[in-house]
């Protein structure tokens, strides 16, 4: 893969996963060695890991690694199949491979390219291993290993010579190996199965896909016939048919809203992408495409199938899809996914007895999601949501029980969908959606519906008509033949009836009456049915081609005139055509006879043609035109196609029994829908699972080892960090806006009052003065209220952040085998949206740390006399203009001694310094960049993200972090945040003539000191001793090069704190607190380090606002 495609993210993912895999391999091989190589589960597991590594490295273009892992896989396959038992030497070889893999990974990290590690020697050894004598001579082809179905089938498949034979049990089983839904399988007959089998033997890939025939399809002038022809020219079509159970009753209210699906089973040597390109099929129109069978040698080429490369972009159409609506769509999508997740977590707590309303809520969330995504033409999302919806529906209908594993799968799928939505939110497009776990989910649901699928194999197999049978009757063909002998012209006139048949029917009748004056209509038929082999169709949804076979002596231009030029195509037929008709008819008759046995078994299907006929009749009667011919001709044509069914129908019709037919239709519809549901759920189960057992097994292994869990945790913070730019809207409660409106009203009243005073101010000065005072007060109150109200509109409950955590906590706890009870308090506490967006990531880090290093394993906890389950408390509350967030665990606490020791070891402080710093301060060293928490506090080899990230994130929003810890009793992190970032409370200080505003959020205290109180360390760094702590001094006058008029006896220090750090700023005077509105400055001034912005004071004076975080980092640099 070239560098432009292989982006850094992908590489990171790869490295992480590769490391996991190597770990699994390492562990597995060790266990193998200990257990003497006997355990099949472990062999399977390491085989899968090697296989996955092979696939991933191949995809990333690391050929060296790919080669090595491939050879490993081959060796392990032999072990797995019992052809080889590993001895100690061979295990050593495997370990050597692992070492080399590790080296390769290191190379990749350093160079971000393919590794040059020399694997020649190891490869030789592996190959020797492969060629070593086998304990027993067992051939793959003779051993029915269940996980290798295709090989066996290749060898065992019975080849029959009879084409007309009904498919037998063996064939049915064979077909069941392919991931083709039952509804389609039922369409197969013996001949098709053989064709399929032969194609597989000849290395074809088998695909199964559905095409959605809808209005758009026809508007683009893609005729189904052309489509079929195109398809036929590039691939082998094994089967094509219409899926009937999605077609509604013809009498349904609005025909236009129904879509018809046509399913194709094809064979091609091309990959999916090539296939799309060649046929020119718009992939958007393809409903679903599945590889049902993939030949092995092609496997590597198309490894990307789990994460399909799709590209859908949200675009404004300028009319109905505006940026605003897209924004709202994004927000809503995120909410729905959240809701889904939330419900699942609630269910997980009590899987046996949960509130059924939760299931409904989940169903609704996905349902709405599906509908919405559809409105934006986001097929992948709507499809995905649809499948989840179906799964939930299966639960709702009691088809499958809510089990832990189901919840797990649903959660993972929800994540996949969430990731896609997240991508959409950030980039306006979707490029991939992870279908991996979806297959697993659908598989699970499928397997739970086993009883039904077992039934369905007993269902009679439907017979597909010969696609080239034209559908003429004996009489029709005789008519043609007579016409030919009489030298009459035969025309095939094609009409396309657009969308709504009923509107066109009059028109058609007029034409028909006209042309009948000049000739004879020999036959009339619906074209699609014959050509594509469709059974039923929905006339409303696409252009319905109707073909008239017309015998006349007139020439073609006259015919064209007669049809008012409304005919799509007029073709003159000649002798050969008629011969073809005759041949196909004979073939049809023989086909039909050979299959008549199975066709006796009645399919649970409505007779659509009959209905259509009735429909046309009705329409015709309404318009009171003569439609007799239409009815009869249709009847004639279709009676020949479905003789058996029709005989009965006609009998009923003749005896005036139309209703029973309709009733029959209706009564069968629930059954249909059930089928539809089943098939939908089933059809989603991709071919991948069965055709590639290793892959499925790998998923299984992932589940076991919890790799997926941990990976999610790892990647989650990364994705959510993009949220800050993406989500720029706030949903405001209407009450808040109403309150604001009220206040604006009051403001207007105050304004008029001021105006009135202004009008005749001179007349009554003293009275007006007191009035003015009153109005000013009122104005002040109103503006304050307005400010508050506006701030409130920016406020979002912190619950939106907190709600993410139950899942995070659960995942980590599960992965770490710890028991944790999460308590969330104060989730209704509101704070500014910008703050909310920034606070999520640091909190995730802190929570992970608390779970990883804080809360102990259940055994340790019991040993320490605590309860088995640890408690993690998240609490948020207001304190003045701040919000405090506490993350408290009752774990082991942080031992200051260890921190001190490690800090010294790492050279973060000297021994003298160490002696000066009290325990409470030393703990804050965990925020230092080079300080790895994982190594220090526990032995868990960690993915612990440095606490410095936490600190810098919190500093960014002017917050402070503090730690209180008690060894053995737990740790509490306290995050103190400003309520809002736009209006801040500040402390005005004076240095020389210059006034600065210090964000009050950062101010811890201010003190009056004397110059003499300032001490120094090593004569270089100024410090001040304050109570039991030492605080470094920061002088603004030197920082900004201002002349300060220092009064030696009267100095002020302002102790500022950011995250865990404290500094004391020396100032000449304190001017007091004031709320200021932050105004941004132009770039030149802003680039001055230490200045965050400016504000205007009441007297118009412009005051600069100090940027505490850069001030502190500058000061640190200077040290």
């Amino acid at each position: 893969m070239n560098d432009s495609i292989m982006n850094n993210d992908m590489l990171q993912d790869f490295l992480e996963e590769a490391k996991e895999m190597i770990e699994v391999l390492n562990h597995g091989i060790l266990t193998l060695e200990q257990s003497g190589g006997g355990n099949i589960d472990i062999v399977n597991e390491i085989f899968r890991s090697a296989h996955t590594l092979k696939g991933m490295s191949g995809m990333m273009g690391f050929t060296n690694m790919n080669h090595l892992t491939h050879t490993m896989e081959n060796a392990l396959d032999k072990v797995r199949n019992g052809e080889m038992i590993l001895n100690t030497d061979q295990i050593d070889v495997l370990f050597e491979c692992l070492d080399e893999l590790n080296d390769m990974l290191a190379d990749i990290i350093n160079e971000s390219g393919d590794s040059n590690v020399d694997t020649q020697e190891t490869l030789e050894k592996l190959k020797d291993m492969l060629n070593s004598p086998k304990p027993e001579t067992k051939s793959k082809f003779e051993t029915p290993v269940p996980s290798k179905p295709k090989t066996i089938q290749k060898a065992e498949f019975p080849v029959s010579t009879s084409k007309e034979e009904k498919i037998n049990q063996t064939d049915a089983e064979y077909l069941n190996q392919l991931m083709i839904p039952d509804e389609v399988l039922n369409l197969f007959k013996k001949y098709d199965v053989e064709k399929l089998h032969n194609l597989i033997l000849n290395d074809y890939n088998i695909y199964y896909f559905k095409v959605l025939l809808d209005k758009d399809f026809c508007k683009k002038n893609i005729s189904l016939i052309e489509f079929y022809k195109k398809l036929e020219s590039s691939v082998e079509i094994i089967l094509s048919s219409c899926i009937t159970d999605s077609i509604p009753d013809i009498d349904a209210i609005d025909l236009k809203n129904y879509d018809m699906q046509i399913v194709f089973v094809i064979a091609s040597k091309q990959t999916k992408k090539e296939f799309f390109k060649k046929t020119g099929i718009d992939s958007n129109k393809i409903f679903e495409i599945f590889e049902t069978f993939e030949n092995e040698q092609l496997q590597i080429q198309d490894n990307s199938k789990d994460e399909e490369e799709i590209f859908f972009e949200l675009t404004f159409d300028g009319e109905f899809i505006t940026p605003e609506i897209i924004k709202s769509f994004k927000e809503e999508s995120v909410e729905h996914i959240h809701e889904f997740n939330e419900c699942l977590l609630k269910i997980e707590k009590n899987p046996d007895n949960f509130n059924p309303e939760l299931i409904n809520a989940m169903f609704r969330a996905m349902h709405t999601m599906k509908g919405l995504a559809n409105m934006f033409s986001l097929k992948p999302i709507s499809e995905f949501a649809h499948k989840l919806e179906n799964s939930i529906d299966a639960v709702r209908n009691g088809k499958i029980k809510m089990t832990e594993s189901l919840v797990e799968l649903l959660l993972k799928n929800c994540d996949s969908l969430g990731a896609a939505v997240q991508e959409l939110v950030e980039t306006n497009k979707i490029t991939k959606i992870n279908n991996k776990v979806l297959h697993e989910l659908l598989n699970l649901i499928n397997s739970n519906e086993k009883p039904e699928s077992a039934l369905s194999t007993e269902k009679p197999h439907k017979i597909i008509k010969n696609p080239f049978y034209y559908g003429f009757s004996e009489e029709d063909i005789k008519k043609f033949e007579t016409a030919i002998t009489n030298k009459n012209n035969i025309y095939e006139i094609t009409f396309f009836y657009k969308q709504d048949l009923s509107e066109n029917i009059n028109n058609f009748d007029i034409i028909k009456t006209k042309i009948e004056l000049f000739g004879e209509i020999a036959a009339l038929m619906f074209d699609i049915d014959e050509i594509i082999g469709l059974d039923y169709f929905n006339p409303a949804n696409f252009d319905l081609p109707i073909k008239l076979y017309y015998i006349s002596q007139e020439n073609i231009s006259t015919i064209s005139m007669l049809t008012d030029k409304s005919a799509e195509n007029i073709r003159k037929l000649d002798e050969t055509d008629v011969k073809n008709f005759r041949e196909s008819y004979s073939k049809y008759v023989s086909d039909k006879n050979s299959t008549s046995l199975s066709s006796k078994i009645k399919r649970p299907k409505p007779v659509r043609k009959q209905e259509l006929e009735n429909h046309i009749k009705k329409e015709g009667n309404k318009s009171e035109t003569n439609t007799k011919e239409t009815t009869i001709s249709i009847k004639e044509s279709h009676s020949k196609i479905k003789r058996e069914q029709n005989e009965e129908l006609r009998r009923r019709e003749n005896s005036g029994e139309q209703t029973p037919i309709m009733e029959q239709t209706k009564s069968s519809s629930p059954e249909q829908n059930k089928q539809q549901l089943n098939s939908l759920v089933k059809s989603g189960v991709s071919a991948v699972e069965k055709s590639n057992p290793d892959r499925a097994a790998k998923r299984e292994s992932e589940k076991k080892t919890g790799i997926n869990d941990s990976k999610e945790i790892q990647t989650k913070p990364a994705t959510s960090s993009g949220l800050a730019q993406g989500n720029t809207t706030v949903r405001v409660d209407i009450e808040k806006l109403d309150a604001l409106m009220n206040l604006v009203g009051e403001l207007l009243i105050a304004k008029t009052q001021v105006e009135q005073i202004g009008l005749n101010f001179d007349e009554n000065i003293s009275e007006n003065k007191s009035k003015l005072k009153f109005v000013t007060e009122q104005l002040g109150r109103v503006t304050n209220d307005i400010q508050e109200a506006i701030m409130k509109t920016r406020m979002v409950p912190i619950g939106t952040v907190f709600n993410r955590f139950p899942r995070v906590v659960r995942d980590i706890a599960k992965a770490r085998n710890k028991k944790v009870n999460l308590i969330i308090k104060g989730e209704e506490t509101e704070l500014d949206k910008t703050v909310i967006e920034e606070i999520g990531d640091p909190m995730v880090h802190l929570i992970r740390n608390a779970l990883d290093h804080g809360i102990e394993e259940p055994e340790k906890r019991i040993a320490a006399g605590k309860s088995e389950t640890g408690t993690l408390t998240l609490n948020a509350f207001h304190e003045g203009n701040h919000i405090i967030i506490e993350i408290a665990d009752d774990g082991a606490g942080i031992n200051p001694k260890i921190i001190r020791k490690k800090s010294l070891e790492k050279g973060l402080l000297t021994i003298e310094e160490s002696n000066m710093i009290p325990d409470a301060e030393i703990i804050k060293f965990i925020f230092k960049p080079g300080f790895s928490t994982a190594e220090v506090i526990t032995d868990i080899s960690g993915r612990g993200v440095g606490m410095d990230v936490v600190k810098s994130n919190i500093s960014k929003i002017n917050g402070i972090v503090d730690i209180q810890t008690n060894v053995g009793a737990g740790t509490t992190f306290t995050i103190k945040l400003p309520l809002t970032l736009a209006i801040i409370n500040s402390l005005l200080v004076k240095v020389g003539e210059q006034i600065f505003a210090t964000p009050l959020a950062a101010v811890i205290e201010s003190l009056k000191i004397k110059a003499a109180d300032i001490g120094s360390i090593e004569g270089k760094y100024e410090i001040i001793k304050l109570r039991d702590g030492v605080i470094p001094i920061l002088r603004l006058n030197s920082q900004f090069k201002i002349q300060s008029k220092e009064n030696k006896d009267k100095l002020f220090i302002v102790v500022i704190g950011l995250a865990e750090e404290k500094y004391a700023i020396v100032v000449d005077d304190l001017l007091g607190q004031q709320e200021i509105v932050i105004k941004s400055l132009n770039h030149k001034i802003v680039s001055t380090p230490g200045i965050a912005g400016a504000t205007i004071l009441g007297d118009g004076q412009v005051v600069l606002i100090l940027d505490i975080s850069t001030l502190i980092s500058n000061a640190k640099k200077n040290r």
Partner: protein, 125 residues
């Protein structure tokens, strides 16, 4: 100005529909579910209603049932907008007396025309 009642639990959907109907000069009353919809029915005179089917609190069917039982609204045009395409659902809706059934996703132009048509029809009746 005719009054339209729009019931859908998706704010995005409501926004889109509102935008599409802007040119028709309607007063649009929005609600999140059937219960809110009923409240609006009782307080305003609604000339045409659009409702989703699958909603929390009260679904579209229940709303429709209520609406048809209310003598003021027994003949008011109702359009169902839903992703459902199951036959029995459609039939049930039909039985309850809906005027049109629009399946999501629908064409906004189509909706415009439909509403315009229904409103003129209703006027002439």
């Amino acid at each position: 100005m005719p009054n339209l009642l729009l019931i859908d639990d998706s704010p995005t959907m409501r926004k889109m529909i509102k935008l599409a109907l802007k040119s028709l000069n309607l007063t649009i009353f929005e609600s999140n579910n059937g219960i809110e919809g009923i409240e609006i029915l009782n307080n305003e005179k609604i000339d045409i209603a659009m409702t989703d089917l699958n909603m929390p609190e009260m679904n579209g069917f229940d709303f429709l049932r209520y609406m048809r039982q209310n003598e003021n609204y027994s003949n008011t045009p109702v359009i169902i907008v839903s992703t459902e395409n199951k036959l029995e659902i459609l039939e049930e809706a039909k039985k309850l007396g809906i005027t049109e059934y629009l399946k999501k996703p629908f064409n906004m132009k189509e909706l415009q025309e439909l509403i315009a048509k229904l409103l003129t029809l209703n006027k002439t009746v």
